[in-house]
Structures are given as structure tokens and as C-alpha cells.
């Protein structure tokens, strides 16, 4: 069933909508949650929470892209869960990608507090749109989808080293961009 039909069911408060949602996106949801959370139970809880959130938020929301809407819910839930997990349960790969991002902020500096995450998200979107497609896709797969370098290499038929090089370059550019646009608190 396509997204438009699922949204229609949601508006009709037909519980089949959730079933259809699961059929269409369950694997993707677990994939995204699994990149952040290592425990299967945590992943399940997040995915189910996301379904519930979809059920309760649509209507009145009517997202243009149901898939991305659902993915964001899963991811946010997974992130929140990750924050509360102990160090032992943390997904090693996810920690690595966070460490990489810390390179984008100069030593001893931090992001401007007055700018919100939403505002920064818009700015980063504009920055990414100005990058070559292959750099952009690799960056989003790494830091939004939380893929490993090997995953990204496999998806795009690249060498993992090439993936690492692309990420390195974009992080450098992002660092320069953040500084130039005043998002770094001097």
C-alpha cells in the first residue's frame, strides 16, 4: 500500500493503517534503530513507539513524506534511548560517528547557544546542498542513517577508504562553514 493510502486510513482512524505501516517500513525502522541501539529490545520499543506516535499525530499532521516522517520518529526515539543507556550498552559505531562530528568544532570552542537545532539544521541542509552529490549522500548516510563506512561503501559500490576520505573532506568544509557563518561561539 502506498503512503497516500496509509495516510488516508490514518485519517479514517482505521487500525489497518498501522499494519500497513509495519508491512512497508518495519525493516527500515529496525535498520535505523539498530544503527543507534545495540539491544534488540530497545530497538523494538523505539519502533513501536514510533508507530504509536504516527497513530496519534496523524491527523492532524499530514506529512508530505510518510517514510521520512516515520524514520525521524524512530531515530529521535532511538537517540533519546541512547542518551539514557549506560556506556556498556552504547553502540560503538554510533559513538564513533559522534566523535567524528566533534572534529567540526574547533578545540576549545562550542556551537553558538542562541542558534536552535532547527535553525542549524536548515543551515546544514543548505551547506549539504552545495556539496557534490556523492559527498552529500555519503555524509547523510553516515550521520543521519548512522551507517558504518563499510555499509556505505557496500551501498554505493565504493571503497571504504574513499568513503572515509569523502567524510573527512566534508567535515573540514563543514567546520569552515560553521565558523564562517558564525555558528561557532568564539
Amino acid at each position: 500500500m502506498n503512503d497516500a493510502s496509509i495516510i488516508k486510513l490514518l485519517f479514517e482512524r482505521n487500525e489497518k493503517a498501522v499494519e500497513e505501516l509495519k508491512q512497508s517500513y518495519e525493516k527500515l525502522c529496525f535498520y535505523i534503530a539498530g544503527n543507534i541501539l545495540s539491544q534488540k529490545e530497545d530497538q523494538e520499543e523505539c519502533v513501536n513507539s514510533a508507530y504509536m506516535e504516527v497513530w496519534t499525530s496523524i491527523p492532524p499532521n499530514k506529512p508530505d513524506n510518510l517514510k521520512t516522517y516515520l524514520c525521524r520518529l524512530v531515530k529521535n526515539c532511538a537517540l533519546n534511548r541512547w542518551k539514557y543507556n549506560t556506556a556498556a550498552k552504547r553502540n560503538q559505531n554510533f559513538s564513533v560517528s559522534l566523535d567524528e562530528l566533534s572534529e567540526c568544532i574547533p578545540d576549545g570552542k562550542c556551537l553558538e547557544e542562541t542558534v536552535s537545532e532547527d535553525q542549524l539544521g536548515v543551515a546544514i541542509s543548505e551547506f549539504l546542498m552545495s556539496q557534490p552529490e556523492k559527498y552529500r549522500k555519503v555524509f547523510v548516510r553516515r550521520y543521519w542513517y548512522s551507517d558504518t563506512l563499510e555499509d556505505i561503501a557496500a551501498i554505493y559500490d565504493m571503497d571504504p577508504r574513499t568513503v572515509a576520505t569523502y567524510l573527512f573532506r566534508v567535515r573540514k568544509k563543514l567546520k569552515a562553514f560553521l565558523k564562517k557563518e558564525g555558528y561557532i561561539d568564539e
Binding site: 508491512q23 513524506n65 566523535d99 562530528l101 572534529e103 537545532e117 539544521g121 556523492k134 559500490d157 569523502y166
Partner: protein
Amino acid sequence: MSDLKLYNSINKINDALIEEAACTEKPVIHHCYGIAASAAAVFIAVGALGLFHASGSLRKTDLSTNTPVIVQNTTETVTATTTPAISDETIQTSSVGTVPLTTQVPMTSAQASVSYSKTSTIPQNSQNQTSAFSALAVTQTASTGKETGKAAESTITTAVSAYDYEYEGSIIMKKHAAALAALIAASGTTNAIPAQAQTQAYKVEVSPTASSVKNFIDGYDPDLDLNSDGKFDIFDIYAMFRCDWTPIENVPDHIREKYEGLTRKKKDDNGEIVNIGGFDFYQDPFYLNWHDLAEYYFTYCSIKPEYFDPNYYIDNCPDTYTDRVPLDIVKQDIGNIQIWDDEKFATTGCYVKNGDGSFRPFSEEDIHDAFYYNEETGRYESDSLFFFNNTEFPEIYQFISECKDLAMPELYQTNALLLDILNRGYADTDIDSDGVYDFDDIVLLAYYANTYENDGSESADPLYYAFSSHQTGSYPAELNGSSDAPITEEEWNKADDFFDIARYYYESDRNTIRFLAEDYLLKNEVDTKYFDPVYYEKQNFAHYEYDDNFLYTVDPYDEILFDQLGLFESFALMYGPGSEENVYPTENDEETETLYEDAFNAAFPVYYKNVKTGVIPGPDIDLDGTISISDYIILDTIGLYYVGIDEMDSFAPFIRRHPEVRADINLSQEAIDNYKNNFDFNNNGISCDYLESDCMRMYIFNELVKQYSDEDALYDAINDYSDEHPELTYSRISYEKMEEFIKKNDVGFTKASRGVTEDDSSDNQVYSAPESTDGIKGDTNVDGKVSTSDVLLIMQSLANPSKYGLDGSDENHITPRGHLLADVDGNGITNNDALTIQEYLLGSGSIE
């Protein structure tokens, strides 16, 4: 935690970026000649049911990048006339009796035979046009609709009438457009035969980006001389790179001003965006950035090895930039380097910051800080924090690196660069050291490239391994001491040296081999053996397997040369010495696909009218006096029998040389002759070319579908008919004959096993395997039954995942449940599942 805030902000990027990255297609331009052999084999098998366009090339090889050929399409277009609306429910005819077609069909001249003489022993494969036509006399009968069982029949009236059949044909085409689109999409066939086949001059294709930039430059005449030195050259590209990618304050003011004039949006006093020359740079699909301009420059202006030599920029760039690493320091370390390779580039391009802010070249003493051993991957990997905080790469190196990453892979014309490199003597191509560069050397290079195994070290970091004693590319141990090794150790080492240089410029060995082979074939005639799989099998260069329709190399990596013999033979025949004597149809490309659709859309209404008015014969292929399902199937069956010049795989050249292996076609000679001779409506010398076959197929489809409740019912009827008439399905290779051939010629071909085949388009790469299977096994479209449409959907989802895959755009794309049910062999959805279901439908297999 600023890093977490940054991460959360990235989490809030716009949906388009997330959606774009969800697409798992490699973000480069592909010229897809088609589908993998295994998929094509399935297409062939199912095509015999008549559901796919099977006449001619179905197997296409994904060549990933450069297609060197562009052809000038001069398809004749015939426009349908517009008329007042007419109901498409009723067809007004008046019976005027039968008309002998011999008096009505246009005479055509005999086609010039396709000659293979210059590659000697291949038999001709021409379809000679004759002026003789079988008289076709039929009368109108009432149609009867039948859902199953007896094949539907329809007869046609050869009536001359003022009725606008052409308009009706256009209505029919639109009515069945979806069905036809599915046929064409499912088959993957995009070959197009122009109205007039013509000799084609070899012409290198241009990438869409380069072409777009050229259109922009031609139309708006922007000032590209960014450094104002009076000319547009590589240093202007470099200037644009510096403005795009490095801190703008490091760029001279005059360059910066020109750059901003060229690329930035200007706003007027009201804050509205001002178009530059009436053109909005940021409007899709065009945005001028430095690597697009580089692509344009390399395509239309110049591409030389020195553009990838850092010395060239240091010595010749007329502009003064602020460089993080002073150029005089860089020059000290690289001044003596004449010929570059990846290792030299990596080791000279990295500088480490000293405590006082000065720089020194990366050295062995930095290895310990810069790399760590990753136990999980078994490789030494770079510590990104070290590189990020402590190293600098000179901007020149970044520019060259980015050119190679972003601009070069998009070019189709980089064979010119390779030839320049060879002419300068940078690399030795006389691999067998016989004093001559010939096709034997190219074969050895192809074997090396196919056999060379990356032991994982090079996928780590060349900087690390440059300082280690680790050797890569050693002569394979299994060849040592082997008396029938196809390559000696000395030849291997020479090939290794060659690729050390070639890989600096080209990321793909496949492209390098292809450039070499095509350049050689363009200029030289070669022995016919170089297109014969038997030769390569006997010389141990490759091992081939065969199934009932294809011959292909066993090793999936054997795609360089040995699995593409049809491609190279076609190239030689079309563009090599003496090719002006030959007449060939055009090759696949995206432009041709669009032209083909246009050509078909124009041709069918006219075809329909001409059949209805008796100008040309109806598609009664089997000459039984009726238009029936049998004709529909036979159209495809005979199409399989004839091997086209444009088949890219190794089956075509093999069967041309060894036709004794071909399976007999179980049709009457009259039917075959009818197919070969009587349906050249566009007078291009080829009867039943793709355009004609599709018109005929559409015509038959329309005639028959009237008798069924809907198209699906007709498909079921076709399916049932095929079940009842297995003699109409055709497999190109006779196993018995092949076994006899193998024994007689002592060739090592082996019969293919029906194992799992890898397929890049499979969703299994991203998603984990499912666990529950509720439903009927094989019921891919989850409609409650197993039918040919399930087979179709599997192949569509594999061949066109963006449309029919799990996240496909088409509303009938495969669902997760269907995906589970399609996986009948339990190892992920592959073409083997389609084959297995097909066999089950034909009654010769099981899916339990």
C-alpha cells in the same frame, strides 16, 4: 555537548536530503547497456511466453561508465493526423473482400548484407528484403471472448475505408500504453532501430553535465577568465575551485570578484533575485560549480596528464594564492617527480604541522600517531583526529584529487588522456615483450585486471602502506609453476607496472581496458579469434558456463573483455577499418530510448491504419489466416533465434562462429520466412526490427484483448496457451549439441548450475532478512495466486528497483510481504526465484 547539538541539528536536515541518500544507486552517471546475464536468462525464458520484447538483444552489460559511441539518429517520424473524436468502442468497417497484398505492399530494395568478412569466418546474419509477399486473405468474423482454454482469435478485414484508422491507432496506443510500457520496461530493451539504418561514424559521447555547461556557455557567454589573464584555461578552473572549496580570503581579490559575479545570486533593491543574463544559476537542473566546469573543460577544451601533476601548477599558475603549506616547500619535495602514481601522490601530499606552525612532509615517524590497527577489519586505519588537527594537504593536491573524484569519472572521453599518457611513454604496453603492442597485450592486461586481487591493504590507506614493505599485486601463487598459466610472471609484473600508472588517472581498470581495446579496434583489424570465447577458454584466460540461452564467464569479475566479446566485436564491425561497408542499427543509449519511444508513438497509428486498410499485411506470423496468441508468442520466439549485431555479451560472437550449437526452432520454414521477409514496414532493410515487432505486438494485443475482460485476463490466456504449447518456447542453446561441440573441440565450457547469483539491485544489501511468510509461496504481487505476473514483478524489482523495488515509486511495486513470498529458495530475492517460479508455471519445477 556541542557535538551532540551538531548531531541533532544534522538530524533535522530536510527530507529531500534524507530521501536522496535513501536511494542506493551509486551517485555517478551510468550508461546501462542492460541487465546481468542471469536476469536476461530469465527474461529470455519468460519472453518465450510473449510477455516481453524478446527480439534481439535482451542481455545488457552494465558498463558503469563510459560509452564511447554516439550515433546520429535520424529516425523518420510520422505524425498522426488529428481528427474529430471517434468512439473507440466501435469499429466501422465495410467488407470489400480480400485484396492481394502483393500489389499493395511497397517494393523495397534489397538490403546490403551485413558482412563480417573482414573478421573472416563468421557466417552472415542478414535478413534480406525481398519483394515477394505471401498473399494474406482473411475475412471478418465475430469475435468471441474466452477467458481460458482455446486461444482467442481475431481476424481482420482488409478493407479500404475513409475511416480514420490512424487516429484509432493512436487511441489504442494510449489505451494500452501501460501494458506496452510494462513490456518495454520489463524487457529492459531500449534498442532502437532508426527508420533508416545508416553507417555510423565513430563519435565519442559527451556527458550530460558537460553538454549542459556547454549550452549555458554558448547561450549566455559568461566571462570564464576568472584570473583575467586573457584566456580560459585550467588555471581558471583551479581558481574556481579555490573560490568554491577553500577559504575565500585566501583567493586574490580580482578572482574573487569575478567568481562572485559568475556564481552568486544578485539581489536588486527590492531584494529580488536578479537573473544573470536571464538565467537563474540555482534553478534546477543547472548550477555551475567548479567540477562541472572542469568536466566541460576536459570534454571540450583540453585534458592532459600535466593537469594531474602538482608541479605543473607550481611552475605555471599565474596567480598568487595564500596557501596553507607554502608552495616552495612543496616544490622541494616533488620537483624531481616526472611520472606520478597513487603512492607518490599520497606520500608527497600530506604535511604535518610542527609546534611552531611550520610544516614538514609526513614521514615514517608519524605512522604511529596517524594510524591504528583495527582488529575488526584487520587493517591499519587512519586516525581521523590526527589528520584533522595535525595535517594539511596542499590545495593543489586537493584540486587534483577532487578532479579525479568528481570530474573524471563522469567523462566519456578520457581515452584521449590515456593515449596521451602512453604516447609520452609513461607506461609500457608491450606486456608480452615481443616488441609490438597488439591485441595480445590487451588480452594480458585484461587477464591481469580480472585476476588482480585487492588483498585489503590498498583499501586501507596508501599513505600507511607507502611506508611499509608491504607488497601488493604479486603474481598469483596458483599460477606459479603451472605449465598452462595464461600469463608469465614477467608479463604479470609488466601489467602491474602499467596499472600502477593507469590507476593514478583512472579509478576503473575496466575503463582502461575498454579504452585500450576500442582504440586498437578502431585502428586495426584483428584476428577473429579474439571474439571467440573458445579461444579464451582454451588459452585459460577465462572459463565459461552456458545455460539454455547464454554463454558467460563464471567469475563475475571476468567482465573486462572476456564477458563482453559481443560488445567489442560490434565495435570492430561498426567502427573499425572497413566498417563503412556495413550498415548497422544504432546502439543503446538514453537518448536513443527517448527517440525510440517517440518513434513508436508516431509509428503505431500509421501501422495500425495501414493494416486495417490492407496496405500492409497483418501480423499473421504463422500464416494460419488468423491473428492469435500464437502469433504473439511466435513473434518473440523467432526474435530470439536471430542474433543481432548489437548483442553485447559473449553468446552472440560464439553462436556466429559455431552455429551448430544453436537449438532448432520448432516452427515452419514458411513462418520463419514470413518473419524474415514480409514485415519491413519502415523500409530499413530489416523485417521485424524492434519498432516493427512492437507495433505488431501492440496490434495483436489490441485485437485479442477485446475478447477478454481486461489485460490481465489476456495475459493469463497467453500464459495458459504457452503451457499448452511448450513447443513454442525457444531456448537458444541445445544442450545436446553443446555437449557434442565441447567433446569434439575439447573445450572446457561447463553447464551453469542454478545457484544464487549476486545482484546489486537487490534490497538484501540494506535490509535484513524477514522472518514470517504468510501467503502463497511465489505470490510476489500478493494477489492470491502464482502467475507470470509474479515472475514479472520479481524481474522488474531487480532491474528497476527505484520503480518496482521495496521503496519503488510505482504503486504496484513489490511489497515487503511480496518480497518474502518471492524468495522461494530462501536465500534472498534473485533472478533464480523468478526462474524457479517460471519453471513451476511451466510444470517442470517446484516452489515448495
